[in-house]
Structure formats: C-alpha cells, structure tokens
Symmetry: C2
Subunit: 220 residues, 2 copies
C-alpha cells in the first residue's frame, strides 16, 4: 500500500546521506517528501539527493513563500530543478505577489501549493478568522494544492467543501498533536508527517505500522 | 552624512564579490544592508561577506519567516552568525510561532523585525484590513522593529502612532514606486532601497545624489 503521506524532512537538517537513505527506504511506500529551508540552507544538496533516491515521488519544496512577486520567483528558481511543487502563503494576496509566482511556476511546469491555514495554535486566532478572504485568494489564483492544518480538521472540512477539486495537504500530524487519519477523514488528500517518521530509528517500521490505521480510515 | 537607508541586496543574487564590494563602498554612508533568500540560497557566503565588508553596519536577514516556531528557529540558526536582526511575518500569530522565535532570538542577542504590511498592491486588499489584529500581535511580541510599506505611507503613519518607540523599516522605494523620503515623512526610521542602488553602475553616486533629498526630508 502506498500511504497518503508526505514525509516532512525538516528535522534531518542538511544531513544529505540520511535524507537520501530515508527517501530510498520509503520510496513507493509513501506519496512523497517535503523539503524545507532547514534542509536547503545547509547547502548540502538534500533536495537533489531526495529526487535521486525516489525519482517518481511527489517532492514539495516548502518555501512558505511570503514576499513580493519579484523575490518569490527568484527564490523558487533555486528549487525547480528537483521539486514538483512549491508552497506559498495565501495571505500575501494576489496583485504583485501570487499572480506573478503562479505564472512563473506554470511556465516552468511546476505546481503551486497555497497555505490556507497553519497547524500551530496562534494561527487559529489570526488566520482562521479571515478564512473567507483566504478562500477568495485561493479561488482567484487557482493553485494545484492547498495546505490546511490537521490540528484543526474543521478548517480542512471548510476548504474541502469550497474546493472539491483541489489537492489538500495537511501538516500537524504527530509531534504537533493531530493523529494520523484526522485530516484525511476531514477531506484532506495527503497528511504531512515529519518527526514521527524522521526521528524514528526505524522509519520503515513506523510507516508499516501506519498502514493499518490508514486502511481503516480509507475504508471508512 | 549616513543615510537612513538599508540597502536591499536581493538583485545581486549569490554574487558574493559584488555584494562585498558594494557593502564596502557604501560602508558608513548607509545604515545597513538587507540580505535575503536570493542572496543566501546560492550558498556563496554573501551574508558573511557583507559582515566582513562593513562590520559596524546593521545587517538584516530578510527571511520573511512564516512557519511554526520549531521550523523558524531552525531557519534562523543559519543566519545568526552574520546578521543583527531577522524578519518574520506578524500574520502567523503568537502561540507556537512568534513567541518561540522571539525567545530564540533574544537568547542569541539578535533582534526581531516583524512585517506589519507589505509593499505590493495585493497586500492592501488582504493584510491592511486586519491591521488591528496585526497591531495586537506586534504589541504582544514586542519586536525591535516593524516593516511597513513605503508604498502606502498611511500604514506607516498608523504604526508610528501605535508604536512610538519601535524602529520602522520601509521597503518599496524606487523600483516598486515609492519615492525616497515618502516613508520617512510618514514616520519610518529607515527606508529599504534595493534595485535603485544595486542595479546602478555607480551605486556610490546614487547614494550621494540621495543625500540632498534626505537632508531636505530630515530638515522638514
């Protein structure tokens, strides 16, 4: 079974060999990998190594882009060689920002994933209250995917209703408190799991133990 | 005269030699330098070079941090050796995010700069309408500085009134449309100027020509 899981590699930092080994050992067992700044900034080639280790996986560059268009395009240009999709924030709005980024990624055959809300408690107080405006931005830009927090399944549910055709990726599973399956039940397509897998001495065993859980959820 | 200008180096990308030469030639003439992902991601040591070229300058790492606390601390750890301050977004909120980042930067003797609003048109539609909430976050976290757009001086004015003691940094001057002095007149402490200086064949000449303008504004 290929789990509906994207493995977040942040905790591995710039350890290219461990990232490559992990990506290889889980290749075909999980849907993909999320490579973030903690992996990229040490300049050790983690993104390239993950691509090499599992060529067919969905590799998401977690850039959390939140800048003007000019700068975001510049940043994205550094990851397009090894990634399939890049994550940006919806709240920065359309004109002079996400419109330019979307055009850039489209023209390079890459997918845009927009953060609608986040997994930490503080996001519930400031981002969720303006979810209507966020939905407006997502609607105007038309990204391939949306990030919505597994820690607040109600937000996932709302976005699933508003965007039946979009791919929803949900972080916050494991170390951050949500249980595997919570977001999927609320309508997500993928759950992003980081430390629960990457901090384990036997990641493959964790993935195998998750299979039964996901079978139950998907069989609901 | 030392101009109230922070030079944004984004457009130089990873060209360490040009960044170092520019920082050296303007050292003492401008207040500082802003080093962003376009400079950092090529892995050429631009941040370290700028510090070397002008040890006393204010060097701001423009990370536009907008993630959970755990990840932001990890990212910030890669720039604390050469920067004095790091930029993060207010909109991500306090709990599990900015509270943790603030504590981390404090304990490393570094300053936090929070983005209150941004310089592109789209920000006027989604961020500015919730400025009250942003002000709440800024008030709770108590950063050293605030980023407010020179392109919308009214936002600068509001933030100056609410936070008389905070340092305000304003981007959007030059290529993005605001004129040098616009933000200062509205209450900003520093204007961030990028391409107008970095894309010039003679950056020192641009800085000299700006002196008269800033003298007028500051003498108002």
């Amino acid at each position: 079974m290929k789990l509906p899981v994207i493995v977040g590699l942040d905790a591995l930092g710039g350890d290219r060999d461990r990232a490559e080994e992990l990506a290889r050992s889980l290749c075909g067992r999980v849907a993909g990998y999320k490579v973030g700044y903690p992996n990229i900034l040490p300049c050790t080639g983690v993104g390239e190594a993950v691509r090499r280790a599992c060529p067919g996986a969905l590799i998401v560059a977690d850039l959390k882009l939140a800048d003007i268009g000019y700068t975001m395009k510049h940043i994205a240009s550094h990851v397009i060689d090894w990634s399939d999709a890049a994550i940006a924030h919806s709240f920065i709005g359309v004109e002079g920002a996400l419109d330019e980024l979307k055009e850039y990624l489209d023209s390079n055959g890459k997918r845009l994933v927009l953060v609608a809300s986040m997994s930490h408690p503080g996001a519930g107080r400031i981002i969720d209250p303006i979810l209507d405006k966020i939905v407006e931005v997502v609607g105007e830009i038309g990204p391939w995917g949306i990030v919505a927090p597994a820690t607040r399944p109600n937000v996932v549910r709302i976005l699933r209703e508003r965007f039946p055709g979009k791919v929803i990726l949900s972080p916050g599973v494991g170390a951050q408190g949500a249980s595997p399956g919570d977001a999927l039940r609320a309508g997500a397509d993928y759950e992003i799991i980081g430390r629960m897998i990457t901090a384990s001495k036997n990641p493959l065993l964790v993935v195998e133990s998750l299979e039964e859980r996901y079978r139950m959820v998907l069989g609901d």
